[in-house]
């Protein structure tokens, strides 16, 4: 359970962005989250509220966009879905995935800022 430290990193990143923007109040944060990031959405939402207390982001909402896993399969010559989270093989032909294209995201996508 490292979601609290992840939440603190999100807040730190957001506060820096607010300063770059010349101040304001953050009403929402948009985050991209993939299942391979090792971060649990529910635990992150829970930690976020706690972590925001006493910061510029107190009272803001964390909006999480879940990104599904996509793999590249050399045999099929394109992107596709894996069999499952535990089995990163091409769902079409069964070949092992060459690489993961999406699904490891843990990214601060945008801020909603009130000025």
């Amino acid at each position: 359970m490292h979601e609290l430290s992840i939440a603190l990193s999100i807040i730190e990143g957001a506060e820096e962005e607010v300063q770059r923007q010349g101040g304001g109040r953050v009403c929402a944060i948009h985050l991209k989250l993939g299942p391979l990031s090792g971060v649990v959405k529910e635990a992150l939402l829970f930690s976020y509220e706690l972590a925001c207390e006493g910061t510029l982001l107190e009272g803001s909402t964390l909006i999480i966009k879940e990104i599904p896993i996509r793999i590249y399969c050399a045999k099929c010559g394109g992107e596709g879905d894996p069999v499952s989270l535990q089995c990163l093989q091409c769902a079409r032909c069964g070949a092992p995935a060459c690489r993961v294209v999406n699904g490891a995201e843990l990214e601060l996508a945008a801020l909603e800022l009130q000025t």
Binding site: H2, G38, V39, L108, A109, A110, Q114
Partner: protein, 150 residues
């Protein structure tokens, strides 16, 4: 009237750790030390593996180890018997090592005097995978006894 606007950021959440890890990686390269980190579930044998490898390598190479644990320095005490420099990193309530912890633990060590540095992470296969420590390679230890039902 207040207005709300959307500001695109597009920044990895662990960007600070990634930056600290890059600095470490450069330091390791400049000093010519090969850094290998070890991760596994609790009780899979990271410390036992290190005990053996440190004892074997120390006859021909200059080796040292950093060991991460939540609370105790039992692992460091065990590894100190291998008679190589060992330092414990107590993470407190944090379930993984990050680049800044490694960087602070290295204070006072001259990396140019080392050939190999091993970093034993906290016993956990979830969180440590997200944090780059600047290592050249990351080794995962799997216990076959545990694997039979997983």
């Amino acid at each position: 009237m207040t207005q709300s606007r959307l500001v695109e950021v597009r920044q990895k959440v662990l960007t600070k750790n990634d930056a600290a890890a890059r600095v470490l990686r450069e330091r390791f390269q400049d000093a010519g030390v090969c850094v290998i980190s070890l991760v596994s579930s609790p009780g899979s044998g990271k410390t036992a593996f290190l005990e053996r490898i440190l004892s074997r390598l120390r006859t021909d190479f200059r080796v040292a180890a950093l060991v991460g644990d939540l609370a105790t320095d039992n692992d460091a005490a065990r590894l100190a018997r291998s008679r190589v420099p060992v330092k414990q990193i107590c993470t407190g309530t944090v379930c993984h090592l990050d680049a800044s912890m490694v960087s602070s633990a290295l204070e006072g060590w001259d990396l140019t005097e080392l050939d190999f540095l091993f970093i034993e992470n906290v016993g956990n296969l979830v969180c440590p995978s997200s944090y780059d420590l600047g290592e050249r390679a990351r080794a995962v230890l799997l216990s076959v006894v545990h694997l039979s039902h997983r």
